[in-house]
C-alpha cells in the first residue's frame, strides 16, 4: 500500500516537473528560429553578417514613383510607411533581402511588391566597409503604425541566423486616422 502511494506521488511529481519545463522553457521553434539583434530607431544594430541603422520613418497617403520612365502615383487603403536605413556588411559581402513590419498587435506586413525595379529597394548587396542606404517600403494599416517593430534578415528562412529587430517607437495617430506627420505624397525619386 505504502509503495503504491509512493509511486503515485512520484508520478504526480514527474507530471508537475514536466509541465513546469514545458511552460518555462523555450519551444523548439524558438530555439531554432532567428536570433534577434535588438535596437531602436537611430541605433546601429549589429547582426552576424550585417549591420543596420534605421535613420527615419516617413508616412504618406500616396507614393510618387518613376517606373520605366513613367510617373505613377500609388494610393493605398492604409498608409505607406517608408523607412530609410543604412546597411553595412561585416566580414563578407552579403545580400540583405527580407524585411517586414510587425505592428503592436502582431500583424506582420511584408515589404510591398508594388514598386518593382526601383533603386534602393531590397534585396541590396552590401560589401564590408561600404555602407549602403536603402528604403524599406510597407503598406500598413494606420493602427499598426504605433510601436511597430522592423524585422530585417538576409534570407527568408533566418533559422539560427541573426535577424535585426528595430523598435520604431510611439507614433501618435491624429484625428483623421493617420499617423502624425504623415504627408500626402512622398516622392520616391528623391535621392536617398
Amino acid at each position: 500500500m505504502m509503495r503504491k502511494s509512493a509511486n503515485i506521488v512520484l508520478l504526480l511529481l514527474a507530471v508537475v516537473f514536466c509541465y513546469g519545463l514545458q511552460i518555462s522553457k523555450p519551444h523548439y521553434g524558438d530555439l531554432i528560429g532567428p536570433i534577434p539583434a535588438r535596437g531602436k530607431l537611430a541605433d546601429t544594430v549589429v547582426g552576424r553578417a550585417f549591420e543596420v541603422h534605421a535613420e527615419k520613418i516617413e508616412f504618406a497617403r500616396k507614393l510618387k514613383v518613376d517606373q520605366f520612365g513613367r510617373q505613377k502615383v500609388l494610393t493605398t487603403g492604409g498608409v505607406w510607411a517608408v523607412v530609410t536605413v543604412a546597411f553595412a556588411a561585416r566580414a563578407e559581402s552579403t545580400v540583405v533581402s527580407v524585411a517586414s513590419w510587425r505592428g503592436p498587435t502582431g500583424l506582420t506586413y511584408d515589404q510591398t511588391e508594388r514598386l518593382s525595379f526601383m533603386n534602393g529597394l531590397l534585396p541590396v548587396a552590401v560589401d564590408p566597409g561600404l555602407p549602403r542606404k536603402a528604403r524599406l517600403i510597407f503598406e500598413v494599416r494606420p493602427d499598426q503604425a504605433n510601436n511597430a517593430t522592423l524585422l530585417i534578415s538576409e534570407k527568408l528562412v533566418a533559422a539560427l541566423d541573426s535577424q535585426a529587430e528595430i523598435s520604431l517607437g510611439p507614433v501618435t495617430i491624429t484625428a483623421d486616422g493617420l499617423p502624425g506627420g504623415a504627408v500626402d505624397t512622398l516622392d520616391m525619386a528623391e535621392p536617398l
Binding site: A91, E92, S93, A125, D127, P128, G129, L130, P131, R132
Partner: protein, 189 residues
C-alpha cells in the same frame, strides 16, 4: 558442481560482461557521434574556404584541374557615381585548361578579394566596366566549352573601400577543391 558454485560462477561472468559493456561505451559513444556528424562535417568543409594555398606572384597553380595565374590586380581610380571612399578593383587571371570538365570541376566557383583582416569582397554589380570580348569571368568560363590546352582570360570587378586597397589579395575557390583555396600574392609581397 553444487548449485552454489554455479551461481557464483554465473555472477562472476555477469560482472565481467557488465564491465566489458561499460568499457565499450568509451568507444561506442564517440563512434556514434562521429557517424552522426559525418554529413554535417562534410557540408561544413565543402562550403567554406578554410585552408589557403599561397601562390607567389607570376607563378601558376594547379587548381580544379587547370593552371591558374594572376596576371594583374589594379584599381580603377577616377570613376564618378561611386559610393564615397570606394575604389573599383580589377583582378585578371590567365587560366590554362587542363581537365576540360569545367561544369563539374569549377562548380561553385568563387573569386573574392581578401584583406589583411580577413574581410572578403565578392564581385560587384555596382560598377560595370567595359571588358574586351575575349575576357570572361569564372561563371561564363564554365559554359565556354573550353578544351584542354586552351588559355582563358578571366576578369572580376570588385568595389572595395579605399583603406583596404593596399592589403587586398585575390582568392579563388571551387567546390571540387574546398576547403582548400588559392590565395594569390602580389609582386611586392
Amino acid at each position: 558442481m553444487t548449485a552454489e558454485a554455479l551461481d557464483r560462477n554465473n555472477r562472476a561472468s555477469e560482472r565481467k560482461w557488465r564491465r566489458r559493456s561499460l568499457w565499450s561505451l568509451l568507444v561506442l559513444i564517440p563512434l556514434a557521434l562521429a557517424v552522426e556528424s559525418y554529413d554535417s562535417v562534410k557540408a561544413l568543409l565543402g562550403n567554406n574556404d578554410l585552408f589557403p594555398r599561397r601562390v607567389a606572384w607570376g607563378e601558376s597553380a594547379r587548381f580544379g584541374g587547370s593552371d591558374w595565374k594572376l596576371t594583374d590586380l589594379r584599381g580603377a581610380f577616377g570613376m564618378s557615381n561611386l559610393p564615397p571612399d570606394s575604389v573599383p578593383v580589377l583582378a585578371d587571371f590567365q587560366v590554362k585548361i587542363g581537365d576540360p570538365d569545367l561544369q563539374k570541376l569549377w562548380l561553385g566557383c568563387k573569386i573574392v578579394l581578401v584583406d589583411k583582416d580577413g574581410r572578403r569582397w565578392s564581385p560587384t554589380s555596382i560598377v560595370s566596366l567595359k571588358t574586351p570580348d575575349n575576357v570572361g569571368n569564372c561563371i561564363s568560363a564554365i559554359f565556354s566549352g573550353a578544351k584542354s590546352g586552351d588559355t582563358l582570360d578571366l576578369r572580376e570587378t570588385f568595389l572595395v573601400p579605399k583603406e583596404a586597397t593596399k592589403s587586398v589579395r585575390p582568392s579563388v575557390s571551387v567546390a571540387s577543391e574546398r576547403p582548400r583555396f588559392l590565395l594569390f600574392q602580389l609582386e611586392k609581397d
